[in-house]
Symmetry: C2
Subunit: 329 residues, 2 copies
């Protein structure tokens, strides 16, 4: 794209044109150097709406009904007059057999609303790439006028931490505890959760959901001591995505927390920390990329890997050799 | 240290002298360039026993009785005529208020045995540093003639994955499921566990422990499909560290698995992969260290961080500026 084309894409995106938005995100997902440069140029041109949405991170254990929840929650937000973007982060999609959001039919109602925009996780990329793409996609949907960005991730590995680092509020979705269900909740996740929502509080499961909520409420009280939060946060609630119950209450809580954080130094400080953290991430990524792109390194690497694998060269010596090649250029 | 002193340290360490071993590990824990060079020289001199021990990774939820377990398990191994080293990995020790192994009195019996060696986690270092130190400590205790290395970590964040990547067998210790206890078990951890041991199978808790074991056995059957393991693995067992029950059975299982893996290609391939992975880790770490040590980068970084924090420079642009400074030297 030339300058004029980038200007045109920026203009259409800021008008809220969905196709322009989709195209811009596709551009941001690419790792081709020319596409990277175009994405950067586009982000520079985009106006002051970047950073203005409520950014919500969302995670949950498998089978908890995350798609149903996002559908119910997203439709409720749209009914309140808000524009909602849903971005999926699933670095493990290759392994786990496809992104939760790969199939938009799971959120059929929401995906048909003009005030909603759903974007599945790009297929098969490593966590670093997903992080960059998601951060840029957040800025792009904000520039396109979306008020709420839901960044949804699957409950594995580092992806929650990554999503928490690019959002303002973190919502953890759980099921009512069942005897045979492992509630795979990490301690680390409890520490980043602002709202724990026990879904499926409907029918026979309602009493179990309430007990589960109370259990998590106790657990969160322990967490709270270590954090700076307003009274009543982090909080545990019940909801039924199926019956669309509890959605407005969750949004009220999120807004209350968000308002408090805007009034305190929290919000400004957090966004500043996120930006600095992102700079360091970009540097690490960049220098490792340059290292691997170095012809001398690339030429030596396969043989050296074989020597390390069969034990003839210690790993640290091999690393030194490679770094000497990199610096010698 | 000069060459002769390093030779002398290597000789004493290979003789199994505890003070030499402790000194060598202290050397490996240091990040001073001269200490790094001395550690590397020492590892080069050490004989073929490096790599010969059974390396067991161990993790467990807080309050599960990990110290009691290590004491009972370690003493049983010593009674069988084996030398046992225990290394603690706790990158969060600064936050959580001290390493589990910081206080050796928790393993009073084991720590007094001449055939045992217990080394607490070094205080306050980031995960990368802990990884390198632990990997080198494993090689050092092996050179000192230890037959079994227990690498123990707390159940948070990435540390289990890191420990699994430097050991052969991974043991996950759990408590009998209680109503108010969050068994903070991540899916990822279930996937790396070879043995799940439900501790505290004594007194009133015995029946609950058995139910918990059966639950985890079911969960492990799902995991198994995705792995290449002999019949019966991964496995779930009960034990009572307090009553010293189940310890020999656990060791039998570990040996059976280890024997199978040595007979198959698994073991050789795994150690080769670990070595290559370590080379890449060392490279990443090394180039990021060199980046931060660069005078031009160091001079510009504080001002640039401030500009990124207050939003005047986008993070990616700042990263580009820094990388240009780094490459310009």
């Amino acid at each position: 794209m030339n300058e004029a084309q980038i200007d045109e894409l920026a203009r259409r995106l800021e008008n809220g044109e969905r196709r322009a938005l989709a195209r811009a995100i596709t551009l941001a997902e690419s790792s081709r150097p020319d596409h990277r440069a175009e994405t950067r140029a586009l982000l520079h041109r985009l106006g002051p709406d970047q950073g203005k949405a409520v950014r919500i991170g969302l995670s949950g254990t498998p089978g908890v009904g995350k798609s149903t929840f996002i559908e119910a929650f997203g439709c409720m937000l749209v009914e309140q007059g808000l524009k909602v973007a849903v971005l999926a982060v699933d670095p493990s999609s290759a392994r786990s057999g496809g992104s939760i959001l790969g199939d938009k039919t799971r959120m059929e109602r929401l995906s048909r609303l003009p005030q909603a925009f759903i974007r599945p996780s790009p297929s098969r990329s490593e966590l670093g790439g997903v992080a960059r793409r998601t951060r840029e996609a957040i800025l792009l949907v904000e520039a396109a006028g979306f008020d709420v960005v839901l960044v949804e991730t699957v409950g594995v590995g580092q992806s929650e931490i990554m999503v928490a680092e690019m959002t303002d509020v973190f919502l953890l979705l759980l099921g009512p505890a069942g005897g045979d269900e492992l509630q795979g909740v990490k301690r680390g996740i409890m520490e980043i959760a602002d709202l724990v929502v026990v879904n499926k509080a409907d029918g026979d499961l309602k009493p179990v959901a309430e007990i589960t909520r109370a259990d998590y409420a106790s657990a969160l009280r322990l967490v709270r001591k270590r954090r700076r939060d307003p009274e009543g946060f982090p909080t545990a609630m019940t909801a039924s995505a199926l019956e669309e119950k509890g959605m407005a209450e969750i949004w009220d809580k999120i807004r209350a927390l968000n308002d408090w954080r805007h009034e305190s130094v929290w919000f400004t400080r957090r966004r500043a920390e996120q930006a600095v953290g992102w700079m360091h991430t970009a540097v690490k990524r960049g220098i490792v990329e340059r290292f691997h792109a170095d012809p001398a390194v690339a030429a030596r690497l396969p043989a050296l890997e074989a020597e390390v694998a069969n034990g003839t060269v210690p790993p640290e010596d091999a690393a030194d050799q490679l770094m000497a090649l990199f610096e010698g250029k």
